[in-house]
Amino acid sequence: MVAPQHPLIIRIADLHKVYRIGAEKVHALRGMSLEIRRNEFVAIMGASGSGKSTLLNVLGCLDQPTRGVYELAGRPTHRMSVGELSGVRNDLIGFVFQSFELLPRATALKNVQLPLIYSRRYWVGTGARARRALERVGLADRMKHRPNQLSGGQRQRVAIARALVNEPAIILADEPTGNLDSKTGDEIIGLFRQLHAEGQTIIMVTHEEDIAGNAGRIIRLRDGVVMSDHPTEEDPTHQDYVRRALETAQRDAGRAAPGAAP
């Protein structure tokens, strides 16, 4: 799935992040390096404390690295001011959160329009742009609904439409199916696959192997460094998981067949 012909969209080199919690120093990232190309669909996995959240915050320009290089779409972001980072988030990044983060009083359309209000790129036609984004996620008939009138899956679709509306360079999804049932979760993942097929670069943090299996590449973190980085079909941990899942399914099927006879 890695497409070397695509240009780099993310380049991280020797990235360090040190937090100070009281007198204690927490070394969350310890010299992490990785590259992501346009139109990749990457899953980032790791136990809690592996630096997953910190990486996501840095990738999303919500946080600054202590040391190291982070270039997003060719722009070095690691020494930007707060205001410049806001601009980068608005222009280049679409966020999808585990708990959707929609404004409760605003309609789906208004929620999707939100990033455009702060945009310096889009001045006119923000309503039409937001409508197109909602159509892309299959919510053409829910534009005037408020979040509390929508199901969980629909809410997450609104959030994805909001992430798409400014045509970002990357979509950052933090456990996008974490608050959804499996069936709805599968639908949302299906939507991500569709967007990926349409050319969207997606970076998704998850701790579920079968969700990660939808990505083309799995990056596993441990103790603030990249532990493994493989295309999904070459990732040993994942292949192990798939094989075991298959065996379990066959065993269940084998057990179910004779059990049904008597």
Binding site: N57, R89, D91, R105, Y118, R120
Partner: protein, 411 residues
């Protein structure tokens, strides 16, 4: 971008206020009271001013009073005799002061009046010269006015007003009838109109009045207390007249340069100035009350905005995540505070104007002319908005400084 954010923010703020109507009302109570107070006080003062100036106008703008006055804290130094205004002094003033047109002494007596079987004790009687008619602009409605001959010959004649006719049970046209004043027989020669005298000047408009020639009065009360009323040739001559009268009276009373005046000279203009000062003082005092209300209201606004910032921490985090700069968040919360204050100001304006309208409509209201001047509306709205900016600043800065990561994790 700025204008879009502004419009969106105003709409959002209004929606927020609408969603929490009761909370918004309670929060802005201080603002509501302050603005309503401004409108009511300014409206009432406007009405009162018109009312009072109308009252003054009935007195004539070119009238001057001269009266004896004890200098403050010198009760032992001057005897009543030294203070007393005499006819000689009044005649002297008439000669010495070219700014004056006419002058008359006025003596006030209380007499027991008898007509038929009616006896009224303590009826006020004024002894005046014939020029009184021109000075007071009160002329005979029936019969004739006082004439110079009445004065010269100390005739026992009198004028009555309508109220006296009622109270004493006189005929509708009493001219030619006789009254007994302290047992002396007076011929009623005319009727003068009852002049509306504002209660402000101690004159109850419905008071019986009897007017007699001055010298006839002197016959009844030798050395009476008196004052003088005069008219200047034009209203702006008052200052000249005051100097002339003062110079003359100080000379004839042998006052040394370091001694204070033992008399007063006043014109209606001065009283008006004094009223304007009092009105100004009331307005300033009201301003202080309003200032305190605005302070209290502002603290209410600050409190509710802090609550709002903490309630909406995740929303702020999200807005920042999708690219809202700190400055934009700051403006958003400032606008919200200002909108809240302006809504409060709007309610206050409605209440205040309602009260002012009620003042106008009230039956026999002395504040018929009460109205809200445009400047009061603009000033109170501006102060309310300023309160929003000042007290909204701290919560807005707090919101703008929130770290988006922490804000999004906020429960």
């Amino acid at each position: 971008m700025f204008i879009r954010v502004l419009i969106q923010t105003v709409v959002l703020a209004l929606a927020q206020i609408w969603a929490n109507k009761v909370r918004a009302m309670l929060t802005t109570l201080g603002i509501i009271i302050a603005v309503a107070a401004v409108i009511i006080i300014v409206g009432a003062m406007t009405g009162l001013k018109t009312f009072v100036l109308d009252q003054f106008a009935t007195f004539g703008a070119n009238k001057v009073w001269v009266f004896p006055r004890m200098p403050p804290n010198m009760r032992d130094r001057y005897s009543f005799r030294q203070l007393r205004l005499t006819t000689a002094q009044i005649d002297g003033i008439a000669q010495f002061s070219p700014s004056l047109e006419r002058i008359t002494p006025v003596m006030m007596l209380n007499t027991t009046v008898q007509f038929g079987d009616r006896v009224r004790p303590g009826v006020p009687v004024q002894g005046v010269r014939p020029s009184w008619h021109e000075i007071e602009q009160r002329f005979a409605l029936k019969g004739r006015p006082l004439a110079p001959l009445d004065e010269e010959e100390r005739r026992q004649v009198c004028l009555v007003n309508d109220k006296a006719i009622d109270e004493l049970g006189l005929d509708a046209d009493p001219t030619g009838d006789f009254l007994l004043l302290d047992g002396r027989r007076f011929l009623i020669v005319g009727v003068v109109e009852t002049k509306a005298v504002s209660p402000m000047f101690g004159g109850n408009e419905a008071q019986s009045e009897l007017i007699i020639p001055f010298r006839t009065g002197e016959m009844m009360r030798p050395e009476p207390r008196m004052f003088a009323i005069a008219t200047t040739r034009s209203p702006e001559l008052f200052a000249d007249a005051k100097v002339e009268i003062g110079t003359y009276l100080r000379r004839v009373r042998h006052l040394k340069p370091d001694e204070p005046d033992t008399f007063g000279v006043e014109a209606i203009e001065q009283v008006i100035e004094q009223f304007k000062k009092v009105a100004g003082a009331i307005t300033v005092g009201a301003g202080a009350v309003v200032g305190i209300s605005l302070l209290v209201g502002g603290i209410g606004i600050m409190n509710i905005m802090l609550v709002s910032v903490s309630e909406r921490t995740r929303e702020i985090g999200l807005r920042k995540a999708v690219g809202a700069r700190p400055g934009v968040i700051l403006i958003q919360f400032l606008v919200e505070a200002v909108v809240l204050c302006l809504v409060g100001a709007g309610v206050g304006l409605l209440l205040g104007n309602g009260a002012v309208l009620a003042m106008r409509m009230a039956k026999d209201s002395p504040l018929e002319a009460a109205q809200t001047p445009m400047w009061a509306i603009v000033v109170s709205a501006a102060f309310a908005a300023a309160t929003g900016v000042i007290f909204g600043m701290f919560p807005a800065i707090k919101a703008a400084r929130l770290n988006p990561i922490d804000a999004l994790r906020h429960e």
